[in-house]
């Protein structure tokens, strides 16, 4: 494996870690349940995606990478499903969202 690929994979891993951190900060800073879902969405897509990409670069062309691709597909489908299920459940439990009424 070339040094360039190695460096690239670490860039991906660190970038992913940064986005995961941003997701966590977002959960702390945003005002209510529904807005927090958007922060989680950041770590779900960009964070996890970049970490997986970095690991795939580390794995090279092997069975490991194949499994990582399968994990990636799995996450793309289940992540939004879980978020949607949470939002729907919160809506059914009549949790009041914070809404900005100003006209844009």
């Amino acid at each position: 494996m070339g040094a360039a690929v190695h460096i690239l994979s670490w860039i991906c891993l660190l970038g992913g870690a940064c986005f995961l951190l941003v997701g966590a900060i977002g959960v702390l800073r945003l005002p209510d349940f529904y807005t927090r879902l958007h922060a989680v969405s950041v770590s779900d897509t960009m964070g996890a995606g970049l970490v997986l990409a970095g690991l795939m670069l580390q794995g090279g062309l092997s069975m490991v990478t194949v499994k990582l691709v399968l994990i990636f597909y799995f996450m793309i489908f289940t992540g939004p499903t879980a978020t949607h299920a949470l939002a729907e459940a919160a809506l059914q439990a009549k949790l009041k969202p914070v809404v900005d009424d100003r006209e844009p």
């Binding site: 489908f77 499903t81 949607h84």
Partner: protein
């Protein structure tokens, strides 16, 4: 070095989760935290080279336990009452015990020490003998299924007994209910995604079942994942529909059949002139015999575990529906 760092960070997170679990009052939140705790410890097991344990913990602790715990909370109450008096005595007991235990660790071999007594006696033998006699790369599987096959038989029996116990306690009353309630009909995303993933989860379970020789996995984990597929289906489509795929009767038969397969392999090896569960008799070549024996008993374990977990789930959920609807 990175390994140490990850290890320490995970341990720290585990500790924080543990404290949060003790302090929280809402049992639903505690259940979810327990799931997180379990996932964290599974990651820790991977760092500590125990991949089989990690897979089991992830499937059991983070998966099935959470579902069963949520079912329990749904049957009872989700708010813990405040304790009546100050927990001074328990606190004292805990601190004293902890201090004594920490004093005890001072004599223990250090973490990662290759010369610790634990590594010097039995384990090297297993590592040496496994490639020659068993021919299975995963030493944990060979220890579980072959060297310590009796233990695993005992374990399957325990699980079988647990299933029988739940059958006796909770029972199961078939009730022809119209399981497709309107709330479920509305959750279109859940239903479609479940439909897409149901076959894939089952296939993955079978993959784990049959690749236990080469990597982490085996009958137990496979059985749990298999059951999870059906539980997911039941959550999205209702219990009635999942019973069309696997009826209750079939489950009871499966629960017994798994144990019988296991014992049958033992008796077969006795009939062929060996001892109970002596797999190398099973084929002309001892290594092939071992392989065959391990595969068969793992299959038995998988069938029993899947059946027992589904029986427990059916028991819980069918009871849930019998409660008169009070809070609607």
């Amino acid at each position: 070095m990175e390994e140490h760092l990850i290890n320490n960070v995970l341990l720290g997170l585990l500790m924080m989760t543990g404290f949060a679990i003790v302090r929280m009052r809402s049992l639903l939140a505690v259940t979810m935290l327990t799931s997180i705790y379990s996932l964290l410890s599974a990651s820790l097991f991977v760092v500590l080279d125990a991949v089989d344990v990690a897979l089991t913990e992830a499937a059991i602790g983070a998966g099935i336990s959470t579902i069963l715990m949520l079912a329990t909370v749904a049957l009872t109450t989700d708010e813990e009452k405040a304790p009546r008096h100050k927990p001074l005595l328990p606190l004292f007991v805990v601190v004293a015990t902890g201090a004594a235990l920490i004093y005890g660790t001072l004599d223990m071999p250090h973490y990662g020490d290759p010369m610790a007594p634990i590594h010097l006696h039995v384990a090297p033998t297993y590592l040496h003998v496994t490639p020659e006699e068993i021919g299975v790369p995963n030493v944990v599987t060979s220890v579980l299924a072959s060297f310590r096959g009796y233990d695993t038989l005992g374990e399957v029996t325990v699980i079988f007994t647990a299933g029988a116990g739940v059958l006796a306690l909770l029972g199961y009353r078939t009730r022809r209910r119209n399981s497709q309630n309107p709330e479920i009909r509305k959750m279109v995303v859940l239903r479609v995604i479940t439909k897409l993933f149901f076959p894939l989860i089952l296939l993955f379970a079978l993959y784990v079942q049959f690749h236990g020789d080469y990597g982490p996995g085996g009958g137990f984990q496979a059985g749990v994942i298999f059951a999870t597929g059906f539980i997911l289906y039941a959550l999205a489509y209702g219990l009635g529909n999942v019973q069309r795929i696997i009826p209750y009767r079939t489950l009871r038969i499966m629960m017994v059949a798994g144990v019988l397969i296991y014992i049958g392999v033992g008796i077969e090896s006795m009939l062929l002139g060996g001892k109970f569960l002596e797999y190398r008799i099973l084929a002309d070549d001892p290594v092939t015999g071992q392989h065959l024996g391990i595969m068969l008993i793992e299959l038995g374990v998988g069938i029993t575990v899947a059946a027992v977990i589904l029986i427990i789930y059916y028991g819980f959920v069918s009871r849930q529906h019998q409660e008169p609807p009070e809070d609607t």
